[in-house]
């Protein structure tokens, strides 16, 4: 898939009200493959941390017998980070405001993950 193809996959995610940006990130090393972020968000650093967090959490979930994560949602005081892994190992990441419709973002992330799989 081309870089344009990855960016297109993110349109549905960034179209959800309250989403400040979205990225496609390699799960293994946290490199940004495509991004559509509002100004002020440090994409490369967020990608690296998101990948690292996903890897740690994935190992813990595997060890706990619930299987690798299919969706995770980091909630913070002033916003959220939502992630869905694609079959290829890519991560689809969304940065959102606190009151975002997390269910809708999840659906769009899953759609994006399907299209980049």
């Amino acid at each position: 898939m081309s870089a344009n193809g990855y960016e297109a996959a993110l349109h549905g995610v960034t179209g959800v009200r309250g989403v400040r940006g979205a990225m496609v990130v390699t799960g293994s090393d946290g490199l940004v493959v495509a991004e559509s972020l509002m100004e002020g968000i440090k994409g490369t650093a967020v990608a690296a941390l998101a990948a690292s967090l996903a890897a740690r959490l994935g190992r813990a979930m595997d060890a706990g017998g619930v299987g690798s994560g299919v969706f995770w949602h980091l909630q913070a005081e002033r916003g959220a980070l939502l992630v869905v892994p694609a079959r290829s190992g890519m991560l689809i990441v969304a940065v959102a405001e606190p009151g975002v419709n997390a269910g809708l973002v999840r659906l769009e992330l899953l759609r994006a993950a399907e299209s980049v799989a």
Partner: protein
């Protein structure tokens, strides 16, 4: 016990070469004063480097501190010095059991039984390793009775007493991934507590860094869906991490509510420990 510790400390001070450090270190270990116990054992070992019991003592302290790598080295050294040391054989069996190497665990226990056929702890541990233990005990590495945490259940583990899933789906950790309370079982009933705790050790720090970098403030929760269950992580205090695991029938929103309730209990419990 406190008087004994004072008495033995005085004896050791009078005669630093005395073997009384073995009893003193063991008493301190039983009182869970691990820093002191380790200092006593290490000082004793400096004076008696070829004393198998001293290596065994240090190994037991390290095992209680979850420093399994060093505990392994010390029990290994104990056996090099005294190949028939049943304490070291049981200790190594415990460590092998913990990492899931049941064949090695059983082999060490069989060796211990040959040397001391009347030791009931060995029979109990063998039954556990062979899967013959009662269902309630099966799968718990701690049930291999070689360390203080086995022989004397620590009250801290009752932090979630009375809460649903206290022994299978709630886990409270410190910042270093050490278990403070609760327990976790995998879908097939195996004890997954230590493995999950180890993997989660850095998650709190990573979540905190990610949230800060994004200008999102402090993180309040991390929920995740897996194919066979849902999990929710939350930091009840800055230095602790709470994990709640439920099967997929419990929706994420309800899981967050359960986690909030457990976090409140954990916070109160942690405050009482200060």
């Amino acid at each position: 016990m406190a008087d004994d510790i004072k008495l033995l400390s005085a004896q050791l001070a009078q005669d630093p070469h005395s073997l009384v450090f073995l009893r003193l270190g063991e008493l301190l270990r039983q009182k869970r004063q691990f820093d002191l116990a380790q200092r006593v054992a290490t000082n004793g070992l400096e004076r008696h480097p070829h004393l198998a019991d001293a290596h065994d003592l240090l190994a037991r302290i390290q095992a209680d501190r979850h420093d399994y790598e060093h505990a392994f080295d010390e029990w290994d050294m104990t056996l090099r010095i005294a190949p028939r040391h049943t304490g070291a054989l049981k200790g190594l069996a415990f460590l092998y059991f913990k990492v899931g190497d049941l064949a090695q665990a059983e082999s060490h226990l069989r060796e211990a039984k040959k040397i001391d056929p009347d030791d009931p702890a060995v029979d109990q541990a063998l039954a556990m390793v062979r899967g013959g233990a009662p269902a309630a005990e099966r799968g718990s590495a701690e049930a291999v009775p070689v360390s203080a945490e086995v022989a004397e259940p620590i009250p801290e583990e009752r932090v979630f007493a009375g809460l649903e899933g206290a022994q299978e789906g709630l886990l409270l950790l410190d910042a270093a991934g050490q278990v403070l309370g609760g327990a976790l079982k995998s879908a097939d009933g195996q004890d997954a507590t230590q493995a999950v705790a180890a993997y989660l050790a850095g998650v709190s720090q990573e979540a905190s860094r990610t949230a800060k970098l994004l200008g999102l403030g402090g993180w309040v929760g991390l929920s995740a869906e897996g194919p066979r269950g849902n999990v929710h992580l939350t930091p009840p205090t800055q230095d602790a991490l709470l994990l709640v695991v439920r099967d997929r029938s419990v929706p994420m929103g309800r899981l967050a509510v359960i986690a909030q309730r457990a976090a409140l209990i954990a916070r109160r419990w942690l405050e009482r420990q200060v």
